[in-house]
Symmetry: C2
Subunit: 508 residues, 2 copies
Amino acid sequence: MLGAARRTARTTALAPARRTLATEHSPPTRFASATVFPDEPSHPTVLSDSVPGSRSRQASQLIGEFQDPRAHVLVADYAKSKGNYLTDVDGNQHLDVFAQIASIAIGYNHPDLIELAKTDEFAVASMNRPALGSFPGADWAETIQKGLLTVAPKGVPHLFTQMDGSGANEGALKAAFMAYRARERKEAGVEDFTAEEMSSVMNNAKPGSPELVAMSFKSGFHGRLFGSLSLTRSKAIHKLDIPAFDWPAVSWPSIKYPLDEYASENAEAEARTIARVEETIVEWAKRGKKVAALIVEPVQAEGGDNHASPSFFKALRTLTREHGVFMIVDEVQTGVGATGSFWAHEKWQLDHPPDFVTFSKKMQAAGYYHAESTRPSLPYRNYNTWMGSPAIAMQAREIISFVKAHGLVQHTAVIGSELYSSLEALARRFPGMVTNLRGKDHGTFIAWDAESPAQRDQFVAAMRQQGVIMGGCGERAIRLRPMLIFGDKQMEVLLGKMEGVLTTLAGK
Amino acid sequence: MLGAARRTARTTALAPARRTLATEHSPPTRFASATVFPDEPSHPTVLSDSVPGSRSRQASQLIGEFQDPRAHVLVADYAKSKGNYLTDVDGNQHLDVFAQIASIAIGYNHPDLIELAKTDEFAVASMNRPALGSFPGADWAETIQKGLLTVAPKGVPHLFTQMDGSGANEGALKAAFMAYRARERKEAGVEDFTAEEMSSVMNNAKPGSPELVAMSFKSGFHGRLFGSLSLTRSKAIHKLDIPAFDWPAVSWPSIKYPLDEYASENAEAEARTIARVEETIVEWAKRGKKVAALIVEPVQAEGGDNHASPSFFKALRTLTREHGVFMIVDEVQTGVGATGSFWAHEKWQLDHPPDFVTFSKKMQAAGYYHAESTRPSLPYRNYNTWMGSPAIAMQAREIISFVKAHGLVQHTAVIGSELYSSLEALARRFPGMVTNLRGKDHGTFIAWDAESPAQRDQFVAAMRQQGVIMGGCGERAIRLRPMLIFGDKQMEVLLGKMEGVLTTLAGK
C-alpha cells in the first residue's frame, strides 16, 4: 500500500513494523471508499497560498457581521466535498480526519444519504416536525426499529431521543435522578410525591428539588448546557463565568502509555481512582449529597484522549451497583464504530449493562438508551416539544444500514490496527514529537501527544497547510477522528503527510 | 363568514358583537389557505368511534415497546396532512389549532417547504451537517441574511443558533453571565481571568463558577434542561426530583381580564410585581447572589397564557437597566407572528431593546438574537459541535419568506381580532364555561379559562372527538395556537364546533 503510485513526491515511504500483520490474519473486511465515491480525490490539493485562503477569510468576515467567526478553521463548500475529502471555498481539497469534530460517519455527500434526502419520506419528516411525545407519526416505530434500535447496546433496549449530545446527557441525567428518588420512595414505602415536595420544588428547594448530585471525572467532557457543563471538567475556558452545580469530580487514573507496557502501574492507578470514587460517594452522602449518577466516557476525548482498561470500567460498574449509583456511559464521541466496536463500552464485557448509554455526533440523531425500569413514573416528566427529529432518525437509520452492510466497524478495527502500527513506527522515528501514542485496539480512535501545546498547534497548522484537517484535544494531544470510510488510500496520504511535516519540523 | 355554505348542520350561527370592526378598518390583508392548499379539508372528519381510534392506539402500543407513549394524543399520518388539517392513522382529519405545541407556522406539507426539501441545497445541508463554529458552509451567511436576520428584532442584530428552545434560553443565559462578569472585570480594572478563577472553575466553585443567579417569574416556562428547568416554574411535574439552581422567582402580577376593564387594578398589581422584582434584586445581592439576568415571556404560555401590559414590560426594562441585569425575552412560543406582530415584544415599544431575544418552535430553527456587545470575550466560550443546523436555517428562511410575501402577520392580527370578538360572544352565552378570555390584540394567541381543571380536560376531549385538536395550559386554561394560515374558513369551523360542544356540555 505505501508504495502506491499516488504517493506524493514530497514524502518517502514508511516501513511500518507490523504492517504485514493485518493481511496475515486476513481481515474480515476492508472497505475502499472509491467504490462509493468514484470522484473522491486521491490526495489533498492546496491551491491557496495558505489555509484558510483569501476566499475563506472573506467568507468568515461576512459571517462575522452576525456571528462569532474566531473559531473558524475555514469556510467549506459542502456541495463539492466527497467522501473523506472536504473542499473549501478556495477550491482546496482536504483529507478530513477530524470530520466535523467526529460527527461525519460515512463521508461527505454519501449517495445513500443524498438519495434519502430526495425521498418523499424525508421531505414529509423534515417539513412536518412533530411534537413527538404527543403526536408521533405513523412511521416513527418503524424508523426506530429499523435504525436506532438495531444497535441498542445490550441491556438497554429503550430509547429517549433528544437534539444533541448535551441534551442526551442531560436527559439521561434527569431520568437517573428520577429513578433514584423513585427507588428511595419505594424503599421508604412512600407511594407518591408529598405535598412538601410539590410546593418546595416550585421554589427550586428541597425536598422537591433534591440535593442529589451527579459525579463525573476530571478532564471529562459531557456538553455545554448548564447540567452537562457542570459535569464537564475539560478546560476552564468552557466553564468560566457560568454558574455550576456543586457536584463532585474525581481525577482520571494517571495512565501511562502504551497501556500494556505499564500494565501493573496502570492497574494501581486505576485502583486508586476506584477507591477515590468510592470515598467520594461515601463522603458526599455524609454531607447529605447523595451521588445519584456517575457519568463516564469510554475514552475521555475532548479532555485529551485518556484511556483506561476494561477492568477499570468493570470495577466502576461493580461500585456503582453496590452504592445504587446510576451509571451513564457517554458514547457521544466514541459511539458508532470509530473504536472498532459499534459501542466502545462493548470492549469492557460488563456482567451488568450500564444504566444509560448516550449518543449523538456520528449518529446525527441524539439520545440515550436505557432499561424499561428507568422510564419515569408519569408521562410529561421527561418530555419536551420536539424530543428529537424523525427526519434525523431516518438519517441515523441509513447510516447504520450502510455501516452494517459494508462491515465498516470491522473495517475500522483493521485499518485502525494498521494505522496504530505505522504511528508506532513514526513515534520511534520522531521521539518527543509523537509520544504517548494511544488507542491500540480502538479502531481509528487514536491520539498522541506533542512535546508542548505550542508544538501541537504548530503540527496541526502545518498539516492544514498540506491539506489535512486534524484536531487537537487536551493540553497537547492530537486526535484522529476519521470517518468509518477511512481506508488504505487515505491512511497512506495521512502517514505520508505526517512524515513530511514531522521531518520538516524536526529539521527546524 | 359565519353564514358560509360549508357551515355544518350541527351548529348555529353566532352573532359576534364586534364582527364589523375589522372590515370597517379595511384589513391590510386576509389570507385564504385554500390558495396554497387546494386539497385542504373544509371541515373535520372523524371516522373512528373515538379519538384516538383503534389504529392510533395500536401504533401507540408499538411505540410503547421502546418509548413512553403515555402522553400520546394520537398517531398522525403526516404525509396525508394538509394545511390546517392533521390526518391520523385512522383516517380522521382534524382541524389543528394546537399545531404541534405551537410549532407549525405555515401548514402541514406546505408546498414551498416540500419544494425546498427536494432541492440539492437542502440535501447537501441535511447530509453534511457542519461543526458550524469552525467549518461553516459557503452559503451560511446568505441563508441567515435572507432568513433569520431579516426578522432580527430591533437592537439585537447578532445571532447565535442552537438546537431548540431550551438550548436557546440556556445559550442566552450563558452569554448574559459572561457579559455580566466581563462588565464587573472592566469596572474593577481587571484585564483577564485570575489564576484563582481558572482553578476554582474546574471544581465548579467560586470565583470561577460565580454565585450569580438568574431570575424568572413564577408560572413561567423556559425549557426542560437543567438551567432552563431551574428558570421554569410552571408545574411541579416538570421539575420534581431534578436538582435545581437556587435562583429567585417572583410572582406574575395578579392580572384580571379583560385587561382594559381592570386597567387600574392591573396597573397596581403590576406595580407591586415591579417593586418585588427590585426588592429581590437588592435582597439577593446582599446575600452575595447578584441577579445577572432576568428572563420573561411576553405572554406566559405553558403557565396559563398570563398577560401583562406594555407598561409592565417597559418598567421591567427600566429596572433591569438600572440594576445592570441582562433582560432575556423568551419568544420561543410568542415569536413568528402568532400574536399579530412578528415578535410579541414589539408591542411594548421599548426605548431600549432587550439584551437577548430567544426563539424556536414556529421558526423551526432556534437560537437567540443579541447585540454585538454581548459576544463573549474569547472564541470557544459559547460554542458547541453543531450550533444549530444549516438545513433547518433554510427552512426558517422559507417560512419567513412565505410569511412576509403573504402578509401573514397582519392577517393573523385581523383574524385574531375577529376570533376574539366571536369568543367574547361565546363567553357571554356560556358564562363560567368560557371565562377570563385573554389575548385581545394578540392575534390568534388567545386563551380562556374553564371552570375547573376537570372541565377544561372535558372540553378539550370533547373537541377532540369533534375533530378539533386544542391544547390546555396552566391550571384550567385552553389556549389557541393555530398556524399563521388559520383563516376565515377554519375560524368558522372552530367556532361552530366550540358552540356545539359548549351547548352539549352546558346541557349536562
